[in-house]
Symmetry: C2
């Protein structure tokens, strides 16, 4: 899926919502545990209910890996279901991978060729040869961690060098020599507030994948205020706030209601900032 | 497996060799492709042949993920085979994971509870809450990326702050507030040569996992010269140099010969530096 197609979907749906499929077997409604594949059954119901209100889905691989082989099967089925039934959705594997060059190539093969997602999140610590192999696939995306939403982001990402540049700024600068706004996005946490202005100074036209709205406390208003561009340039993720909106049999309807609420808010923001 | 047990094995075997099980279906001997599970068949033969000469095995998860569900099954079987038949071997999942706290907990569950490895490699970029969940398991280890063996290590890891401290040094310093030499090791690439002295200045007693000897060009002599401690403090990994020593039917014997050669060299080094 290319940049123009993503922007087209955002404008068409009045939404830049990404639904995080952080599906935890310990948190899904009890009645699903009788299903042959409870994780997939949950994801399918969530997807069918929320698809009108979002433009992307982001399964976090940790939730699937924690179930071993069964988890990988459920993840594979989920991605296949999306591709076959919702080809207008952008699919992100939130895997935070990154290794030496020949090994990153294998991760790229796993996620882009075998699983068939559109994008993968990648950690920058190991530098260019850990990131480049993911960029060798036409129409696929790297989403590089820049400024994350968690408390630990303050340990290294804000570290300032001799010239006053923070590490996350250097990651943004350096990575833009490896990729373009057509195959490279950045992760910037919603909890970072006014730092979005700093991010936009260095990466004015890149798409940003923004976790941390909702359960982690980030504000959608602030993210849009500091981060939105004339093409939108944002994919804002919500996971727990949507998929666990209810633990009862109405979980899918409750998820749809939350997603719709966010979509409605996003439509106003897209209009306020002149994107639509 | 605790620190004392690792040191005991090193002294007993005269070896600080870790065999990297970077098993690529495209590189294993052809005659194995007829096996029901070629990856496991290859690993089993390599393990049986090399176990007398090494103290650790390190499957890199990328190689298994690239095969999807079948790959995860082969990885699971390999770890189970090691645990059941070679309980004196230290098992490292080279996964380079790391995510926000609640998600890292799930990776810890996947690797420590379900798969049952002793250690996992973790990327430091996201800071303390991405690392801590892996430290909550008694007898398990975090092996944190500090100074990696690849060319991209120069992009961010050597970045110097206002006080002259390089990023990898700050990672070493900061992480030692989160863990101890009893549950925390660091990855330092063999290709980094004299930088080992800098690493030892900041982390004098931590075990270091050292990739990059062999195919990547690092020297075992240099690693020992700069990195060895009175307890050894090193696990030196070799992957391709051992497991692909021959592509014929004699692949396991050839692997054993390479592992034995490294063990012999290591025994001399352990003796030279007074560890044994």
């Amino acid at each position: 899926m290319n940049r123009e197609q993503i922007i087209e979907q955002i404008k068409k749906k009045g939404s830049f919502l990404c639904v995080g499929l952080d599906t935890d077997i310990k948190k899904i409604p009890e009645h699903l545990l009788n299903e042959e594949d409870p994780i997939f059954a949950f994801n399918k119901a969530i997807i069918d209910a929320t698809a009108p209100y979002c433009v992307a889905y982001k399964p976090n691989t940790a939730f699937y890996e924690s179930l071993g082989v069964d988890g990988w099967k459920a993840l594979d089925r989920t991605v296949r279901y999306l591709r076959e039934n919702y080809s207008d959705q952008f699919i992100i594997a939130d895997a935070k991978r990154g290794d030496i060059g020949n090994t990153s190539s294998l991760y790229a093969r796993a996620f882009f060729e075998n699983m068939g997602v559109d994008a993968i999140t990648v950690a920058p610590y190991m530098g260019f040869d850990s990131v480049k192999p993911f960029m060798e696939y036409d129409g696929k995306w790297v989403i590089l961690l820049a400024l994350t939403s968690n408390p630990g982001s303050h340990d290294f990402q804000f570290r300032t060098d001799m010239t006053g540049t923070r590490l996350f700024e250097q990651v943004l600068e350096t990575a833009q020599k490896w990729g373009t706004p057509d195959n490279l996005m950045f992760v910037v946490g919603a909890t970072q507030g006014a730092m979005f202005a700093e991010v936009r100074r260095v990466a004015p036209s890149s798409f940003l994948l923004v976790p941390g709205v909702g359960a982690q406390g980030g504000s959608l208003e602030d993210v849009a205020k500091w981060g939105i561009t004339h093409e939108c340039g944002l994919l804002v993720n919500s996971s727990r706030g949507i998929i666990y909106a209810s633990k009862g049999e109405d979980f899918a309807e409750a998820a749809a209601a939350e997603a719709r609420k966010l979509r409605d808010h996003m439509t106003i923001l897209l209009s306020t900032y002149g994107v639509i």
